[in-house]
C-alpha cells in the first residue's frame, strides 16, 4: 500500500543529485517513509537530520527569528536539507553538485503539504 508521502518523496528523489528523501518524525528521529538509493542508511540520516533540524528550529525561535523554514548542511561529500511542518521533517540527502535551488523550492512546496 502506498503511503500518503510516496508522491512527495518520488518528486524529490527525481531531482538530479538527490540520493535519499525521507519523512521523519521530528521528536523521535524515526523514519515515517523514505525513498532511498542503494547504500543510503535511512535510519542514521533520519536520526541525525531530525535532531539537527529540531535544534535549528529551537535556536531560530530562541533568537527571535521566527519559524525555521529550511535548513541546509554542506559537507565535503554531500548535503543534507531539511524542511518541516508540525511534527514532521522532510529530509533530502544530495550530492555536493546537486542544484540546491531547485531542491529547496520543491522541499518548501512539499513541506507545505505535510499534514
Amino acid at each position: 500500500m502506498k503511503s500518503p508521502f510516496a508522491s512527495i518523496l518520488a518528486t524529490l528523489t527525481r531531482q538530479r543529485g538527490v540520493r535519499a528523501s525521507l519523512v521523519v518524525d521530528e521528536n523521535d528521529g524515526i523514519v515515517v517513509d523514505s525513498n532511498l538509493q542503494i547504500g543510503q542508511d535511512g535510519d542514521r540520516v533520519a536520526a541525525l537530520a531530525a535532531s539537527l533540524y529540531r535544534k535549528a528550529r529551537l535556536s531560530a525561535r530562541a533568537a527571535r527569528l521566527g519559524t525555521a523554514t529550511f535548513m541546509q548542511l554542506e559537507a565535503e561529500r554531500g548535503r543534507i536539507c531539511a524542511a518541516g511542518r508540525n511534527d514532521l521533517v522532510l529530509v533530502v540527502v544530495a550530492d555536493p553538485a546537486a542544484n540546491i535551488g531547485m531542491i529547496r523550492v520543491e522541499m518548501i512546496k512539499a513541506a507545505g503539504g505535510l499534514p
Binding site: 521523519v24 521528536n27 523521535d28 528521529g29 535510519d43 533520519a46 535532531s51
Partner: protein, 157 residues
C-alpha cells in the same frame, strides 16, 4: 558526567555512547540484575532498584515475546512526558547484558537506537575473549556480589 564500571572494558564504549547519544541515565547489567556499569545515578539504592526492575522487565518482555511472537522481545521503549526509557539487550563474547538508558529532549529515540547499535558493536569488540562463568541467577552469593558491585561503583562498603 560520572561513569563508573565494575568491569573496566565497559567504560570506553559506555563513555562514547553517553557523549554521542546525550542520554541522562544509563545502566549496564547482567540479566540476573547484577550491575556492571552506570552513569548519571547518584545513590546506590537507585541503581539497585533500577537493576532489579530492568532485569524483571527484560525477563517479562522476553517471555511475553516468546508467547506472542515465538521469540523474546529484545528491546523496549517507553515514552514519558518529559523523559523516555530505552531498554535492550547487548550481546558480547562475555555473554548477554541488559542496557537501560533514560533520555530527555536533548536526545531522541532515533539517536538512542543509532548509538546503541554502535555501543553494542564496540562493547562486543572490547569484551575480553574469556567466557564469563555461567552462574545461577539466584545463588547464595547474589546479595554479596550485588553489594560488592555497588561499593565498587559508589566507592563505599
Amino acid at each position: 558526567m560520572s561513569i563508573t564500571a565494575v568491569e573496566p572494558w565497559v567504560e570506553i564504549p559506555l563513555r562514547k555512547f553517553v557523549e554521542e547519544a546525550r542520554t541522562v541515565l544509563g545502566l549496564l547489567l547482567h540479566p540476573s540484575g547484577q550491575v556492571i556499569a552506570q552513569f548519571g545515578f547518584v545513590r546506590a539504592v537507585d541503581v539497585m532498584s533500577a537493576c532489579a526492575l530492568a532485569a524483571a522487565i527484560h525477563a517479562s518482555a522476553g517471555e511475553l515475546g516468546k508467547q506472542l511472537d515465538g521469540k523474546p522481545f529484545r528491546g523496549l521503549h517507553h515514552p514519558g512526558r518529559d523523559r523516555q526509557l530505552f531498554l535492550a539487550e547487548a550481546a558480547t563474547p562475555r555473554g548477554t547484558f541488559i542496557f537501560l538508558t533514560v533520555f530527555d529532549q536533548e536526545s531522541s529515540l532515533g539517536l538512542v537506537r543509532l548509538y546503541f547499535d554502535e555501543f553494542c558493536k564496540s562493547l562486543a569488540a572490547a569484551a575480553p575473549s574469556a567466557p564469563r562463568r555461567v552462574e545461577p541467577v539466584l545463588e547464595e552469593r547474589f546479595e554479596h556480589e550485588l553489594n560488592r558491585n555497588l561499593a565498587a561503583l559508589f566507592g563505599r562498603e
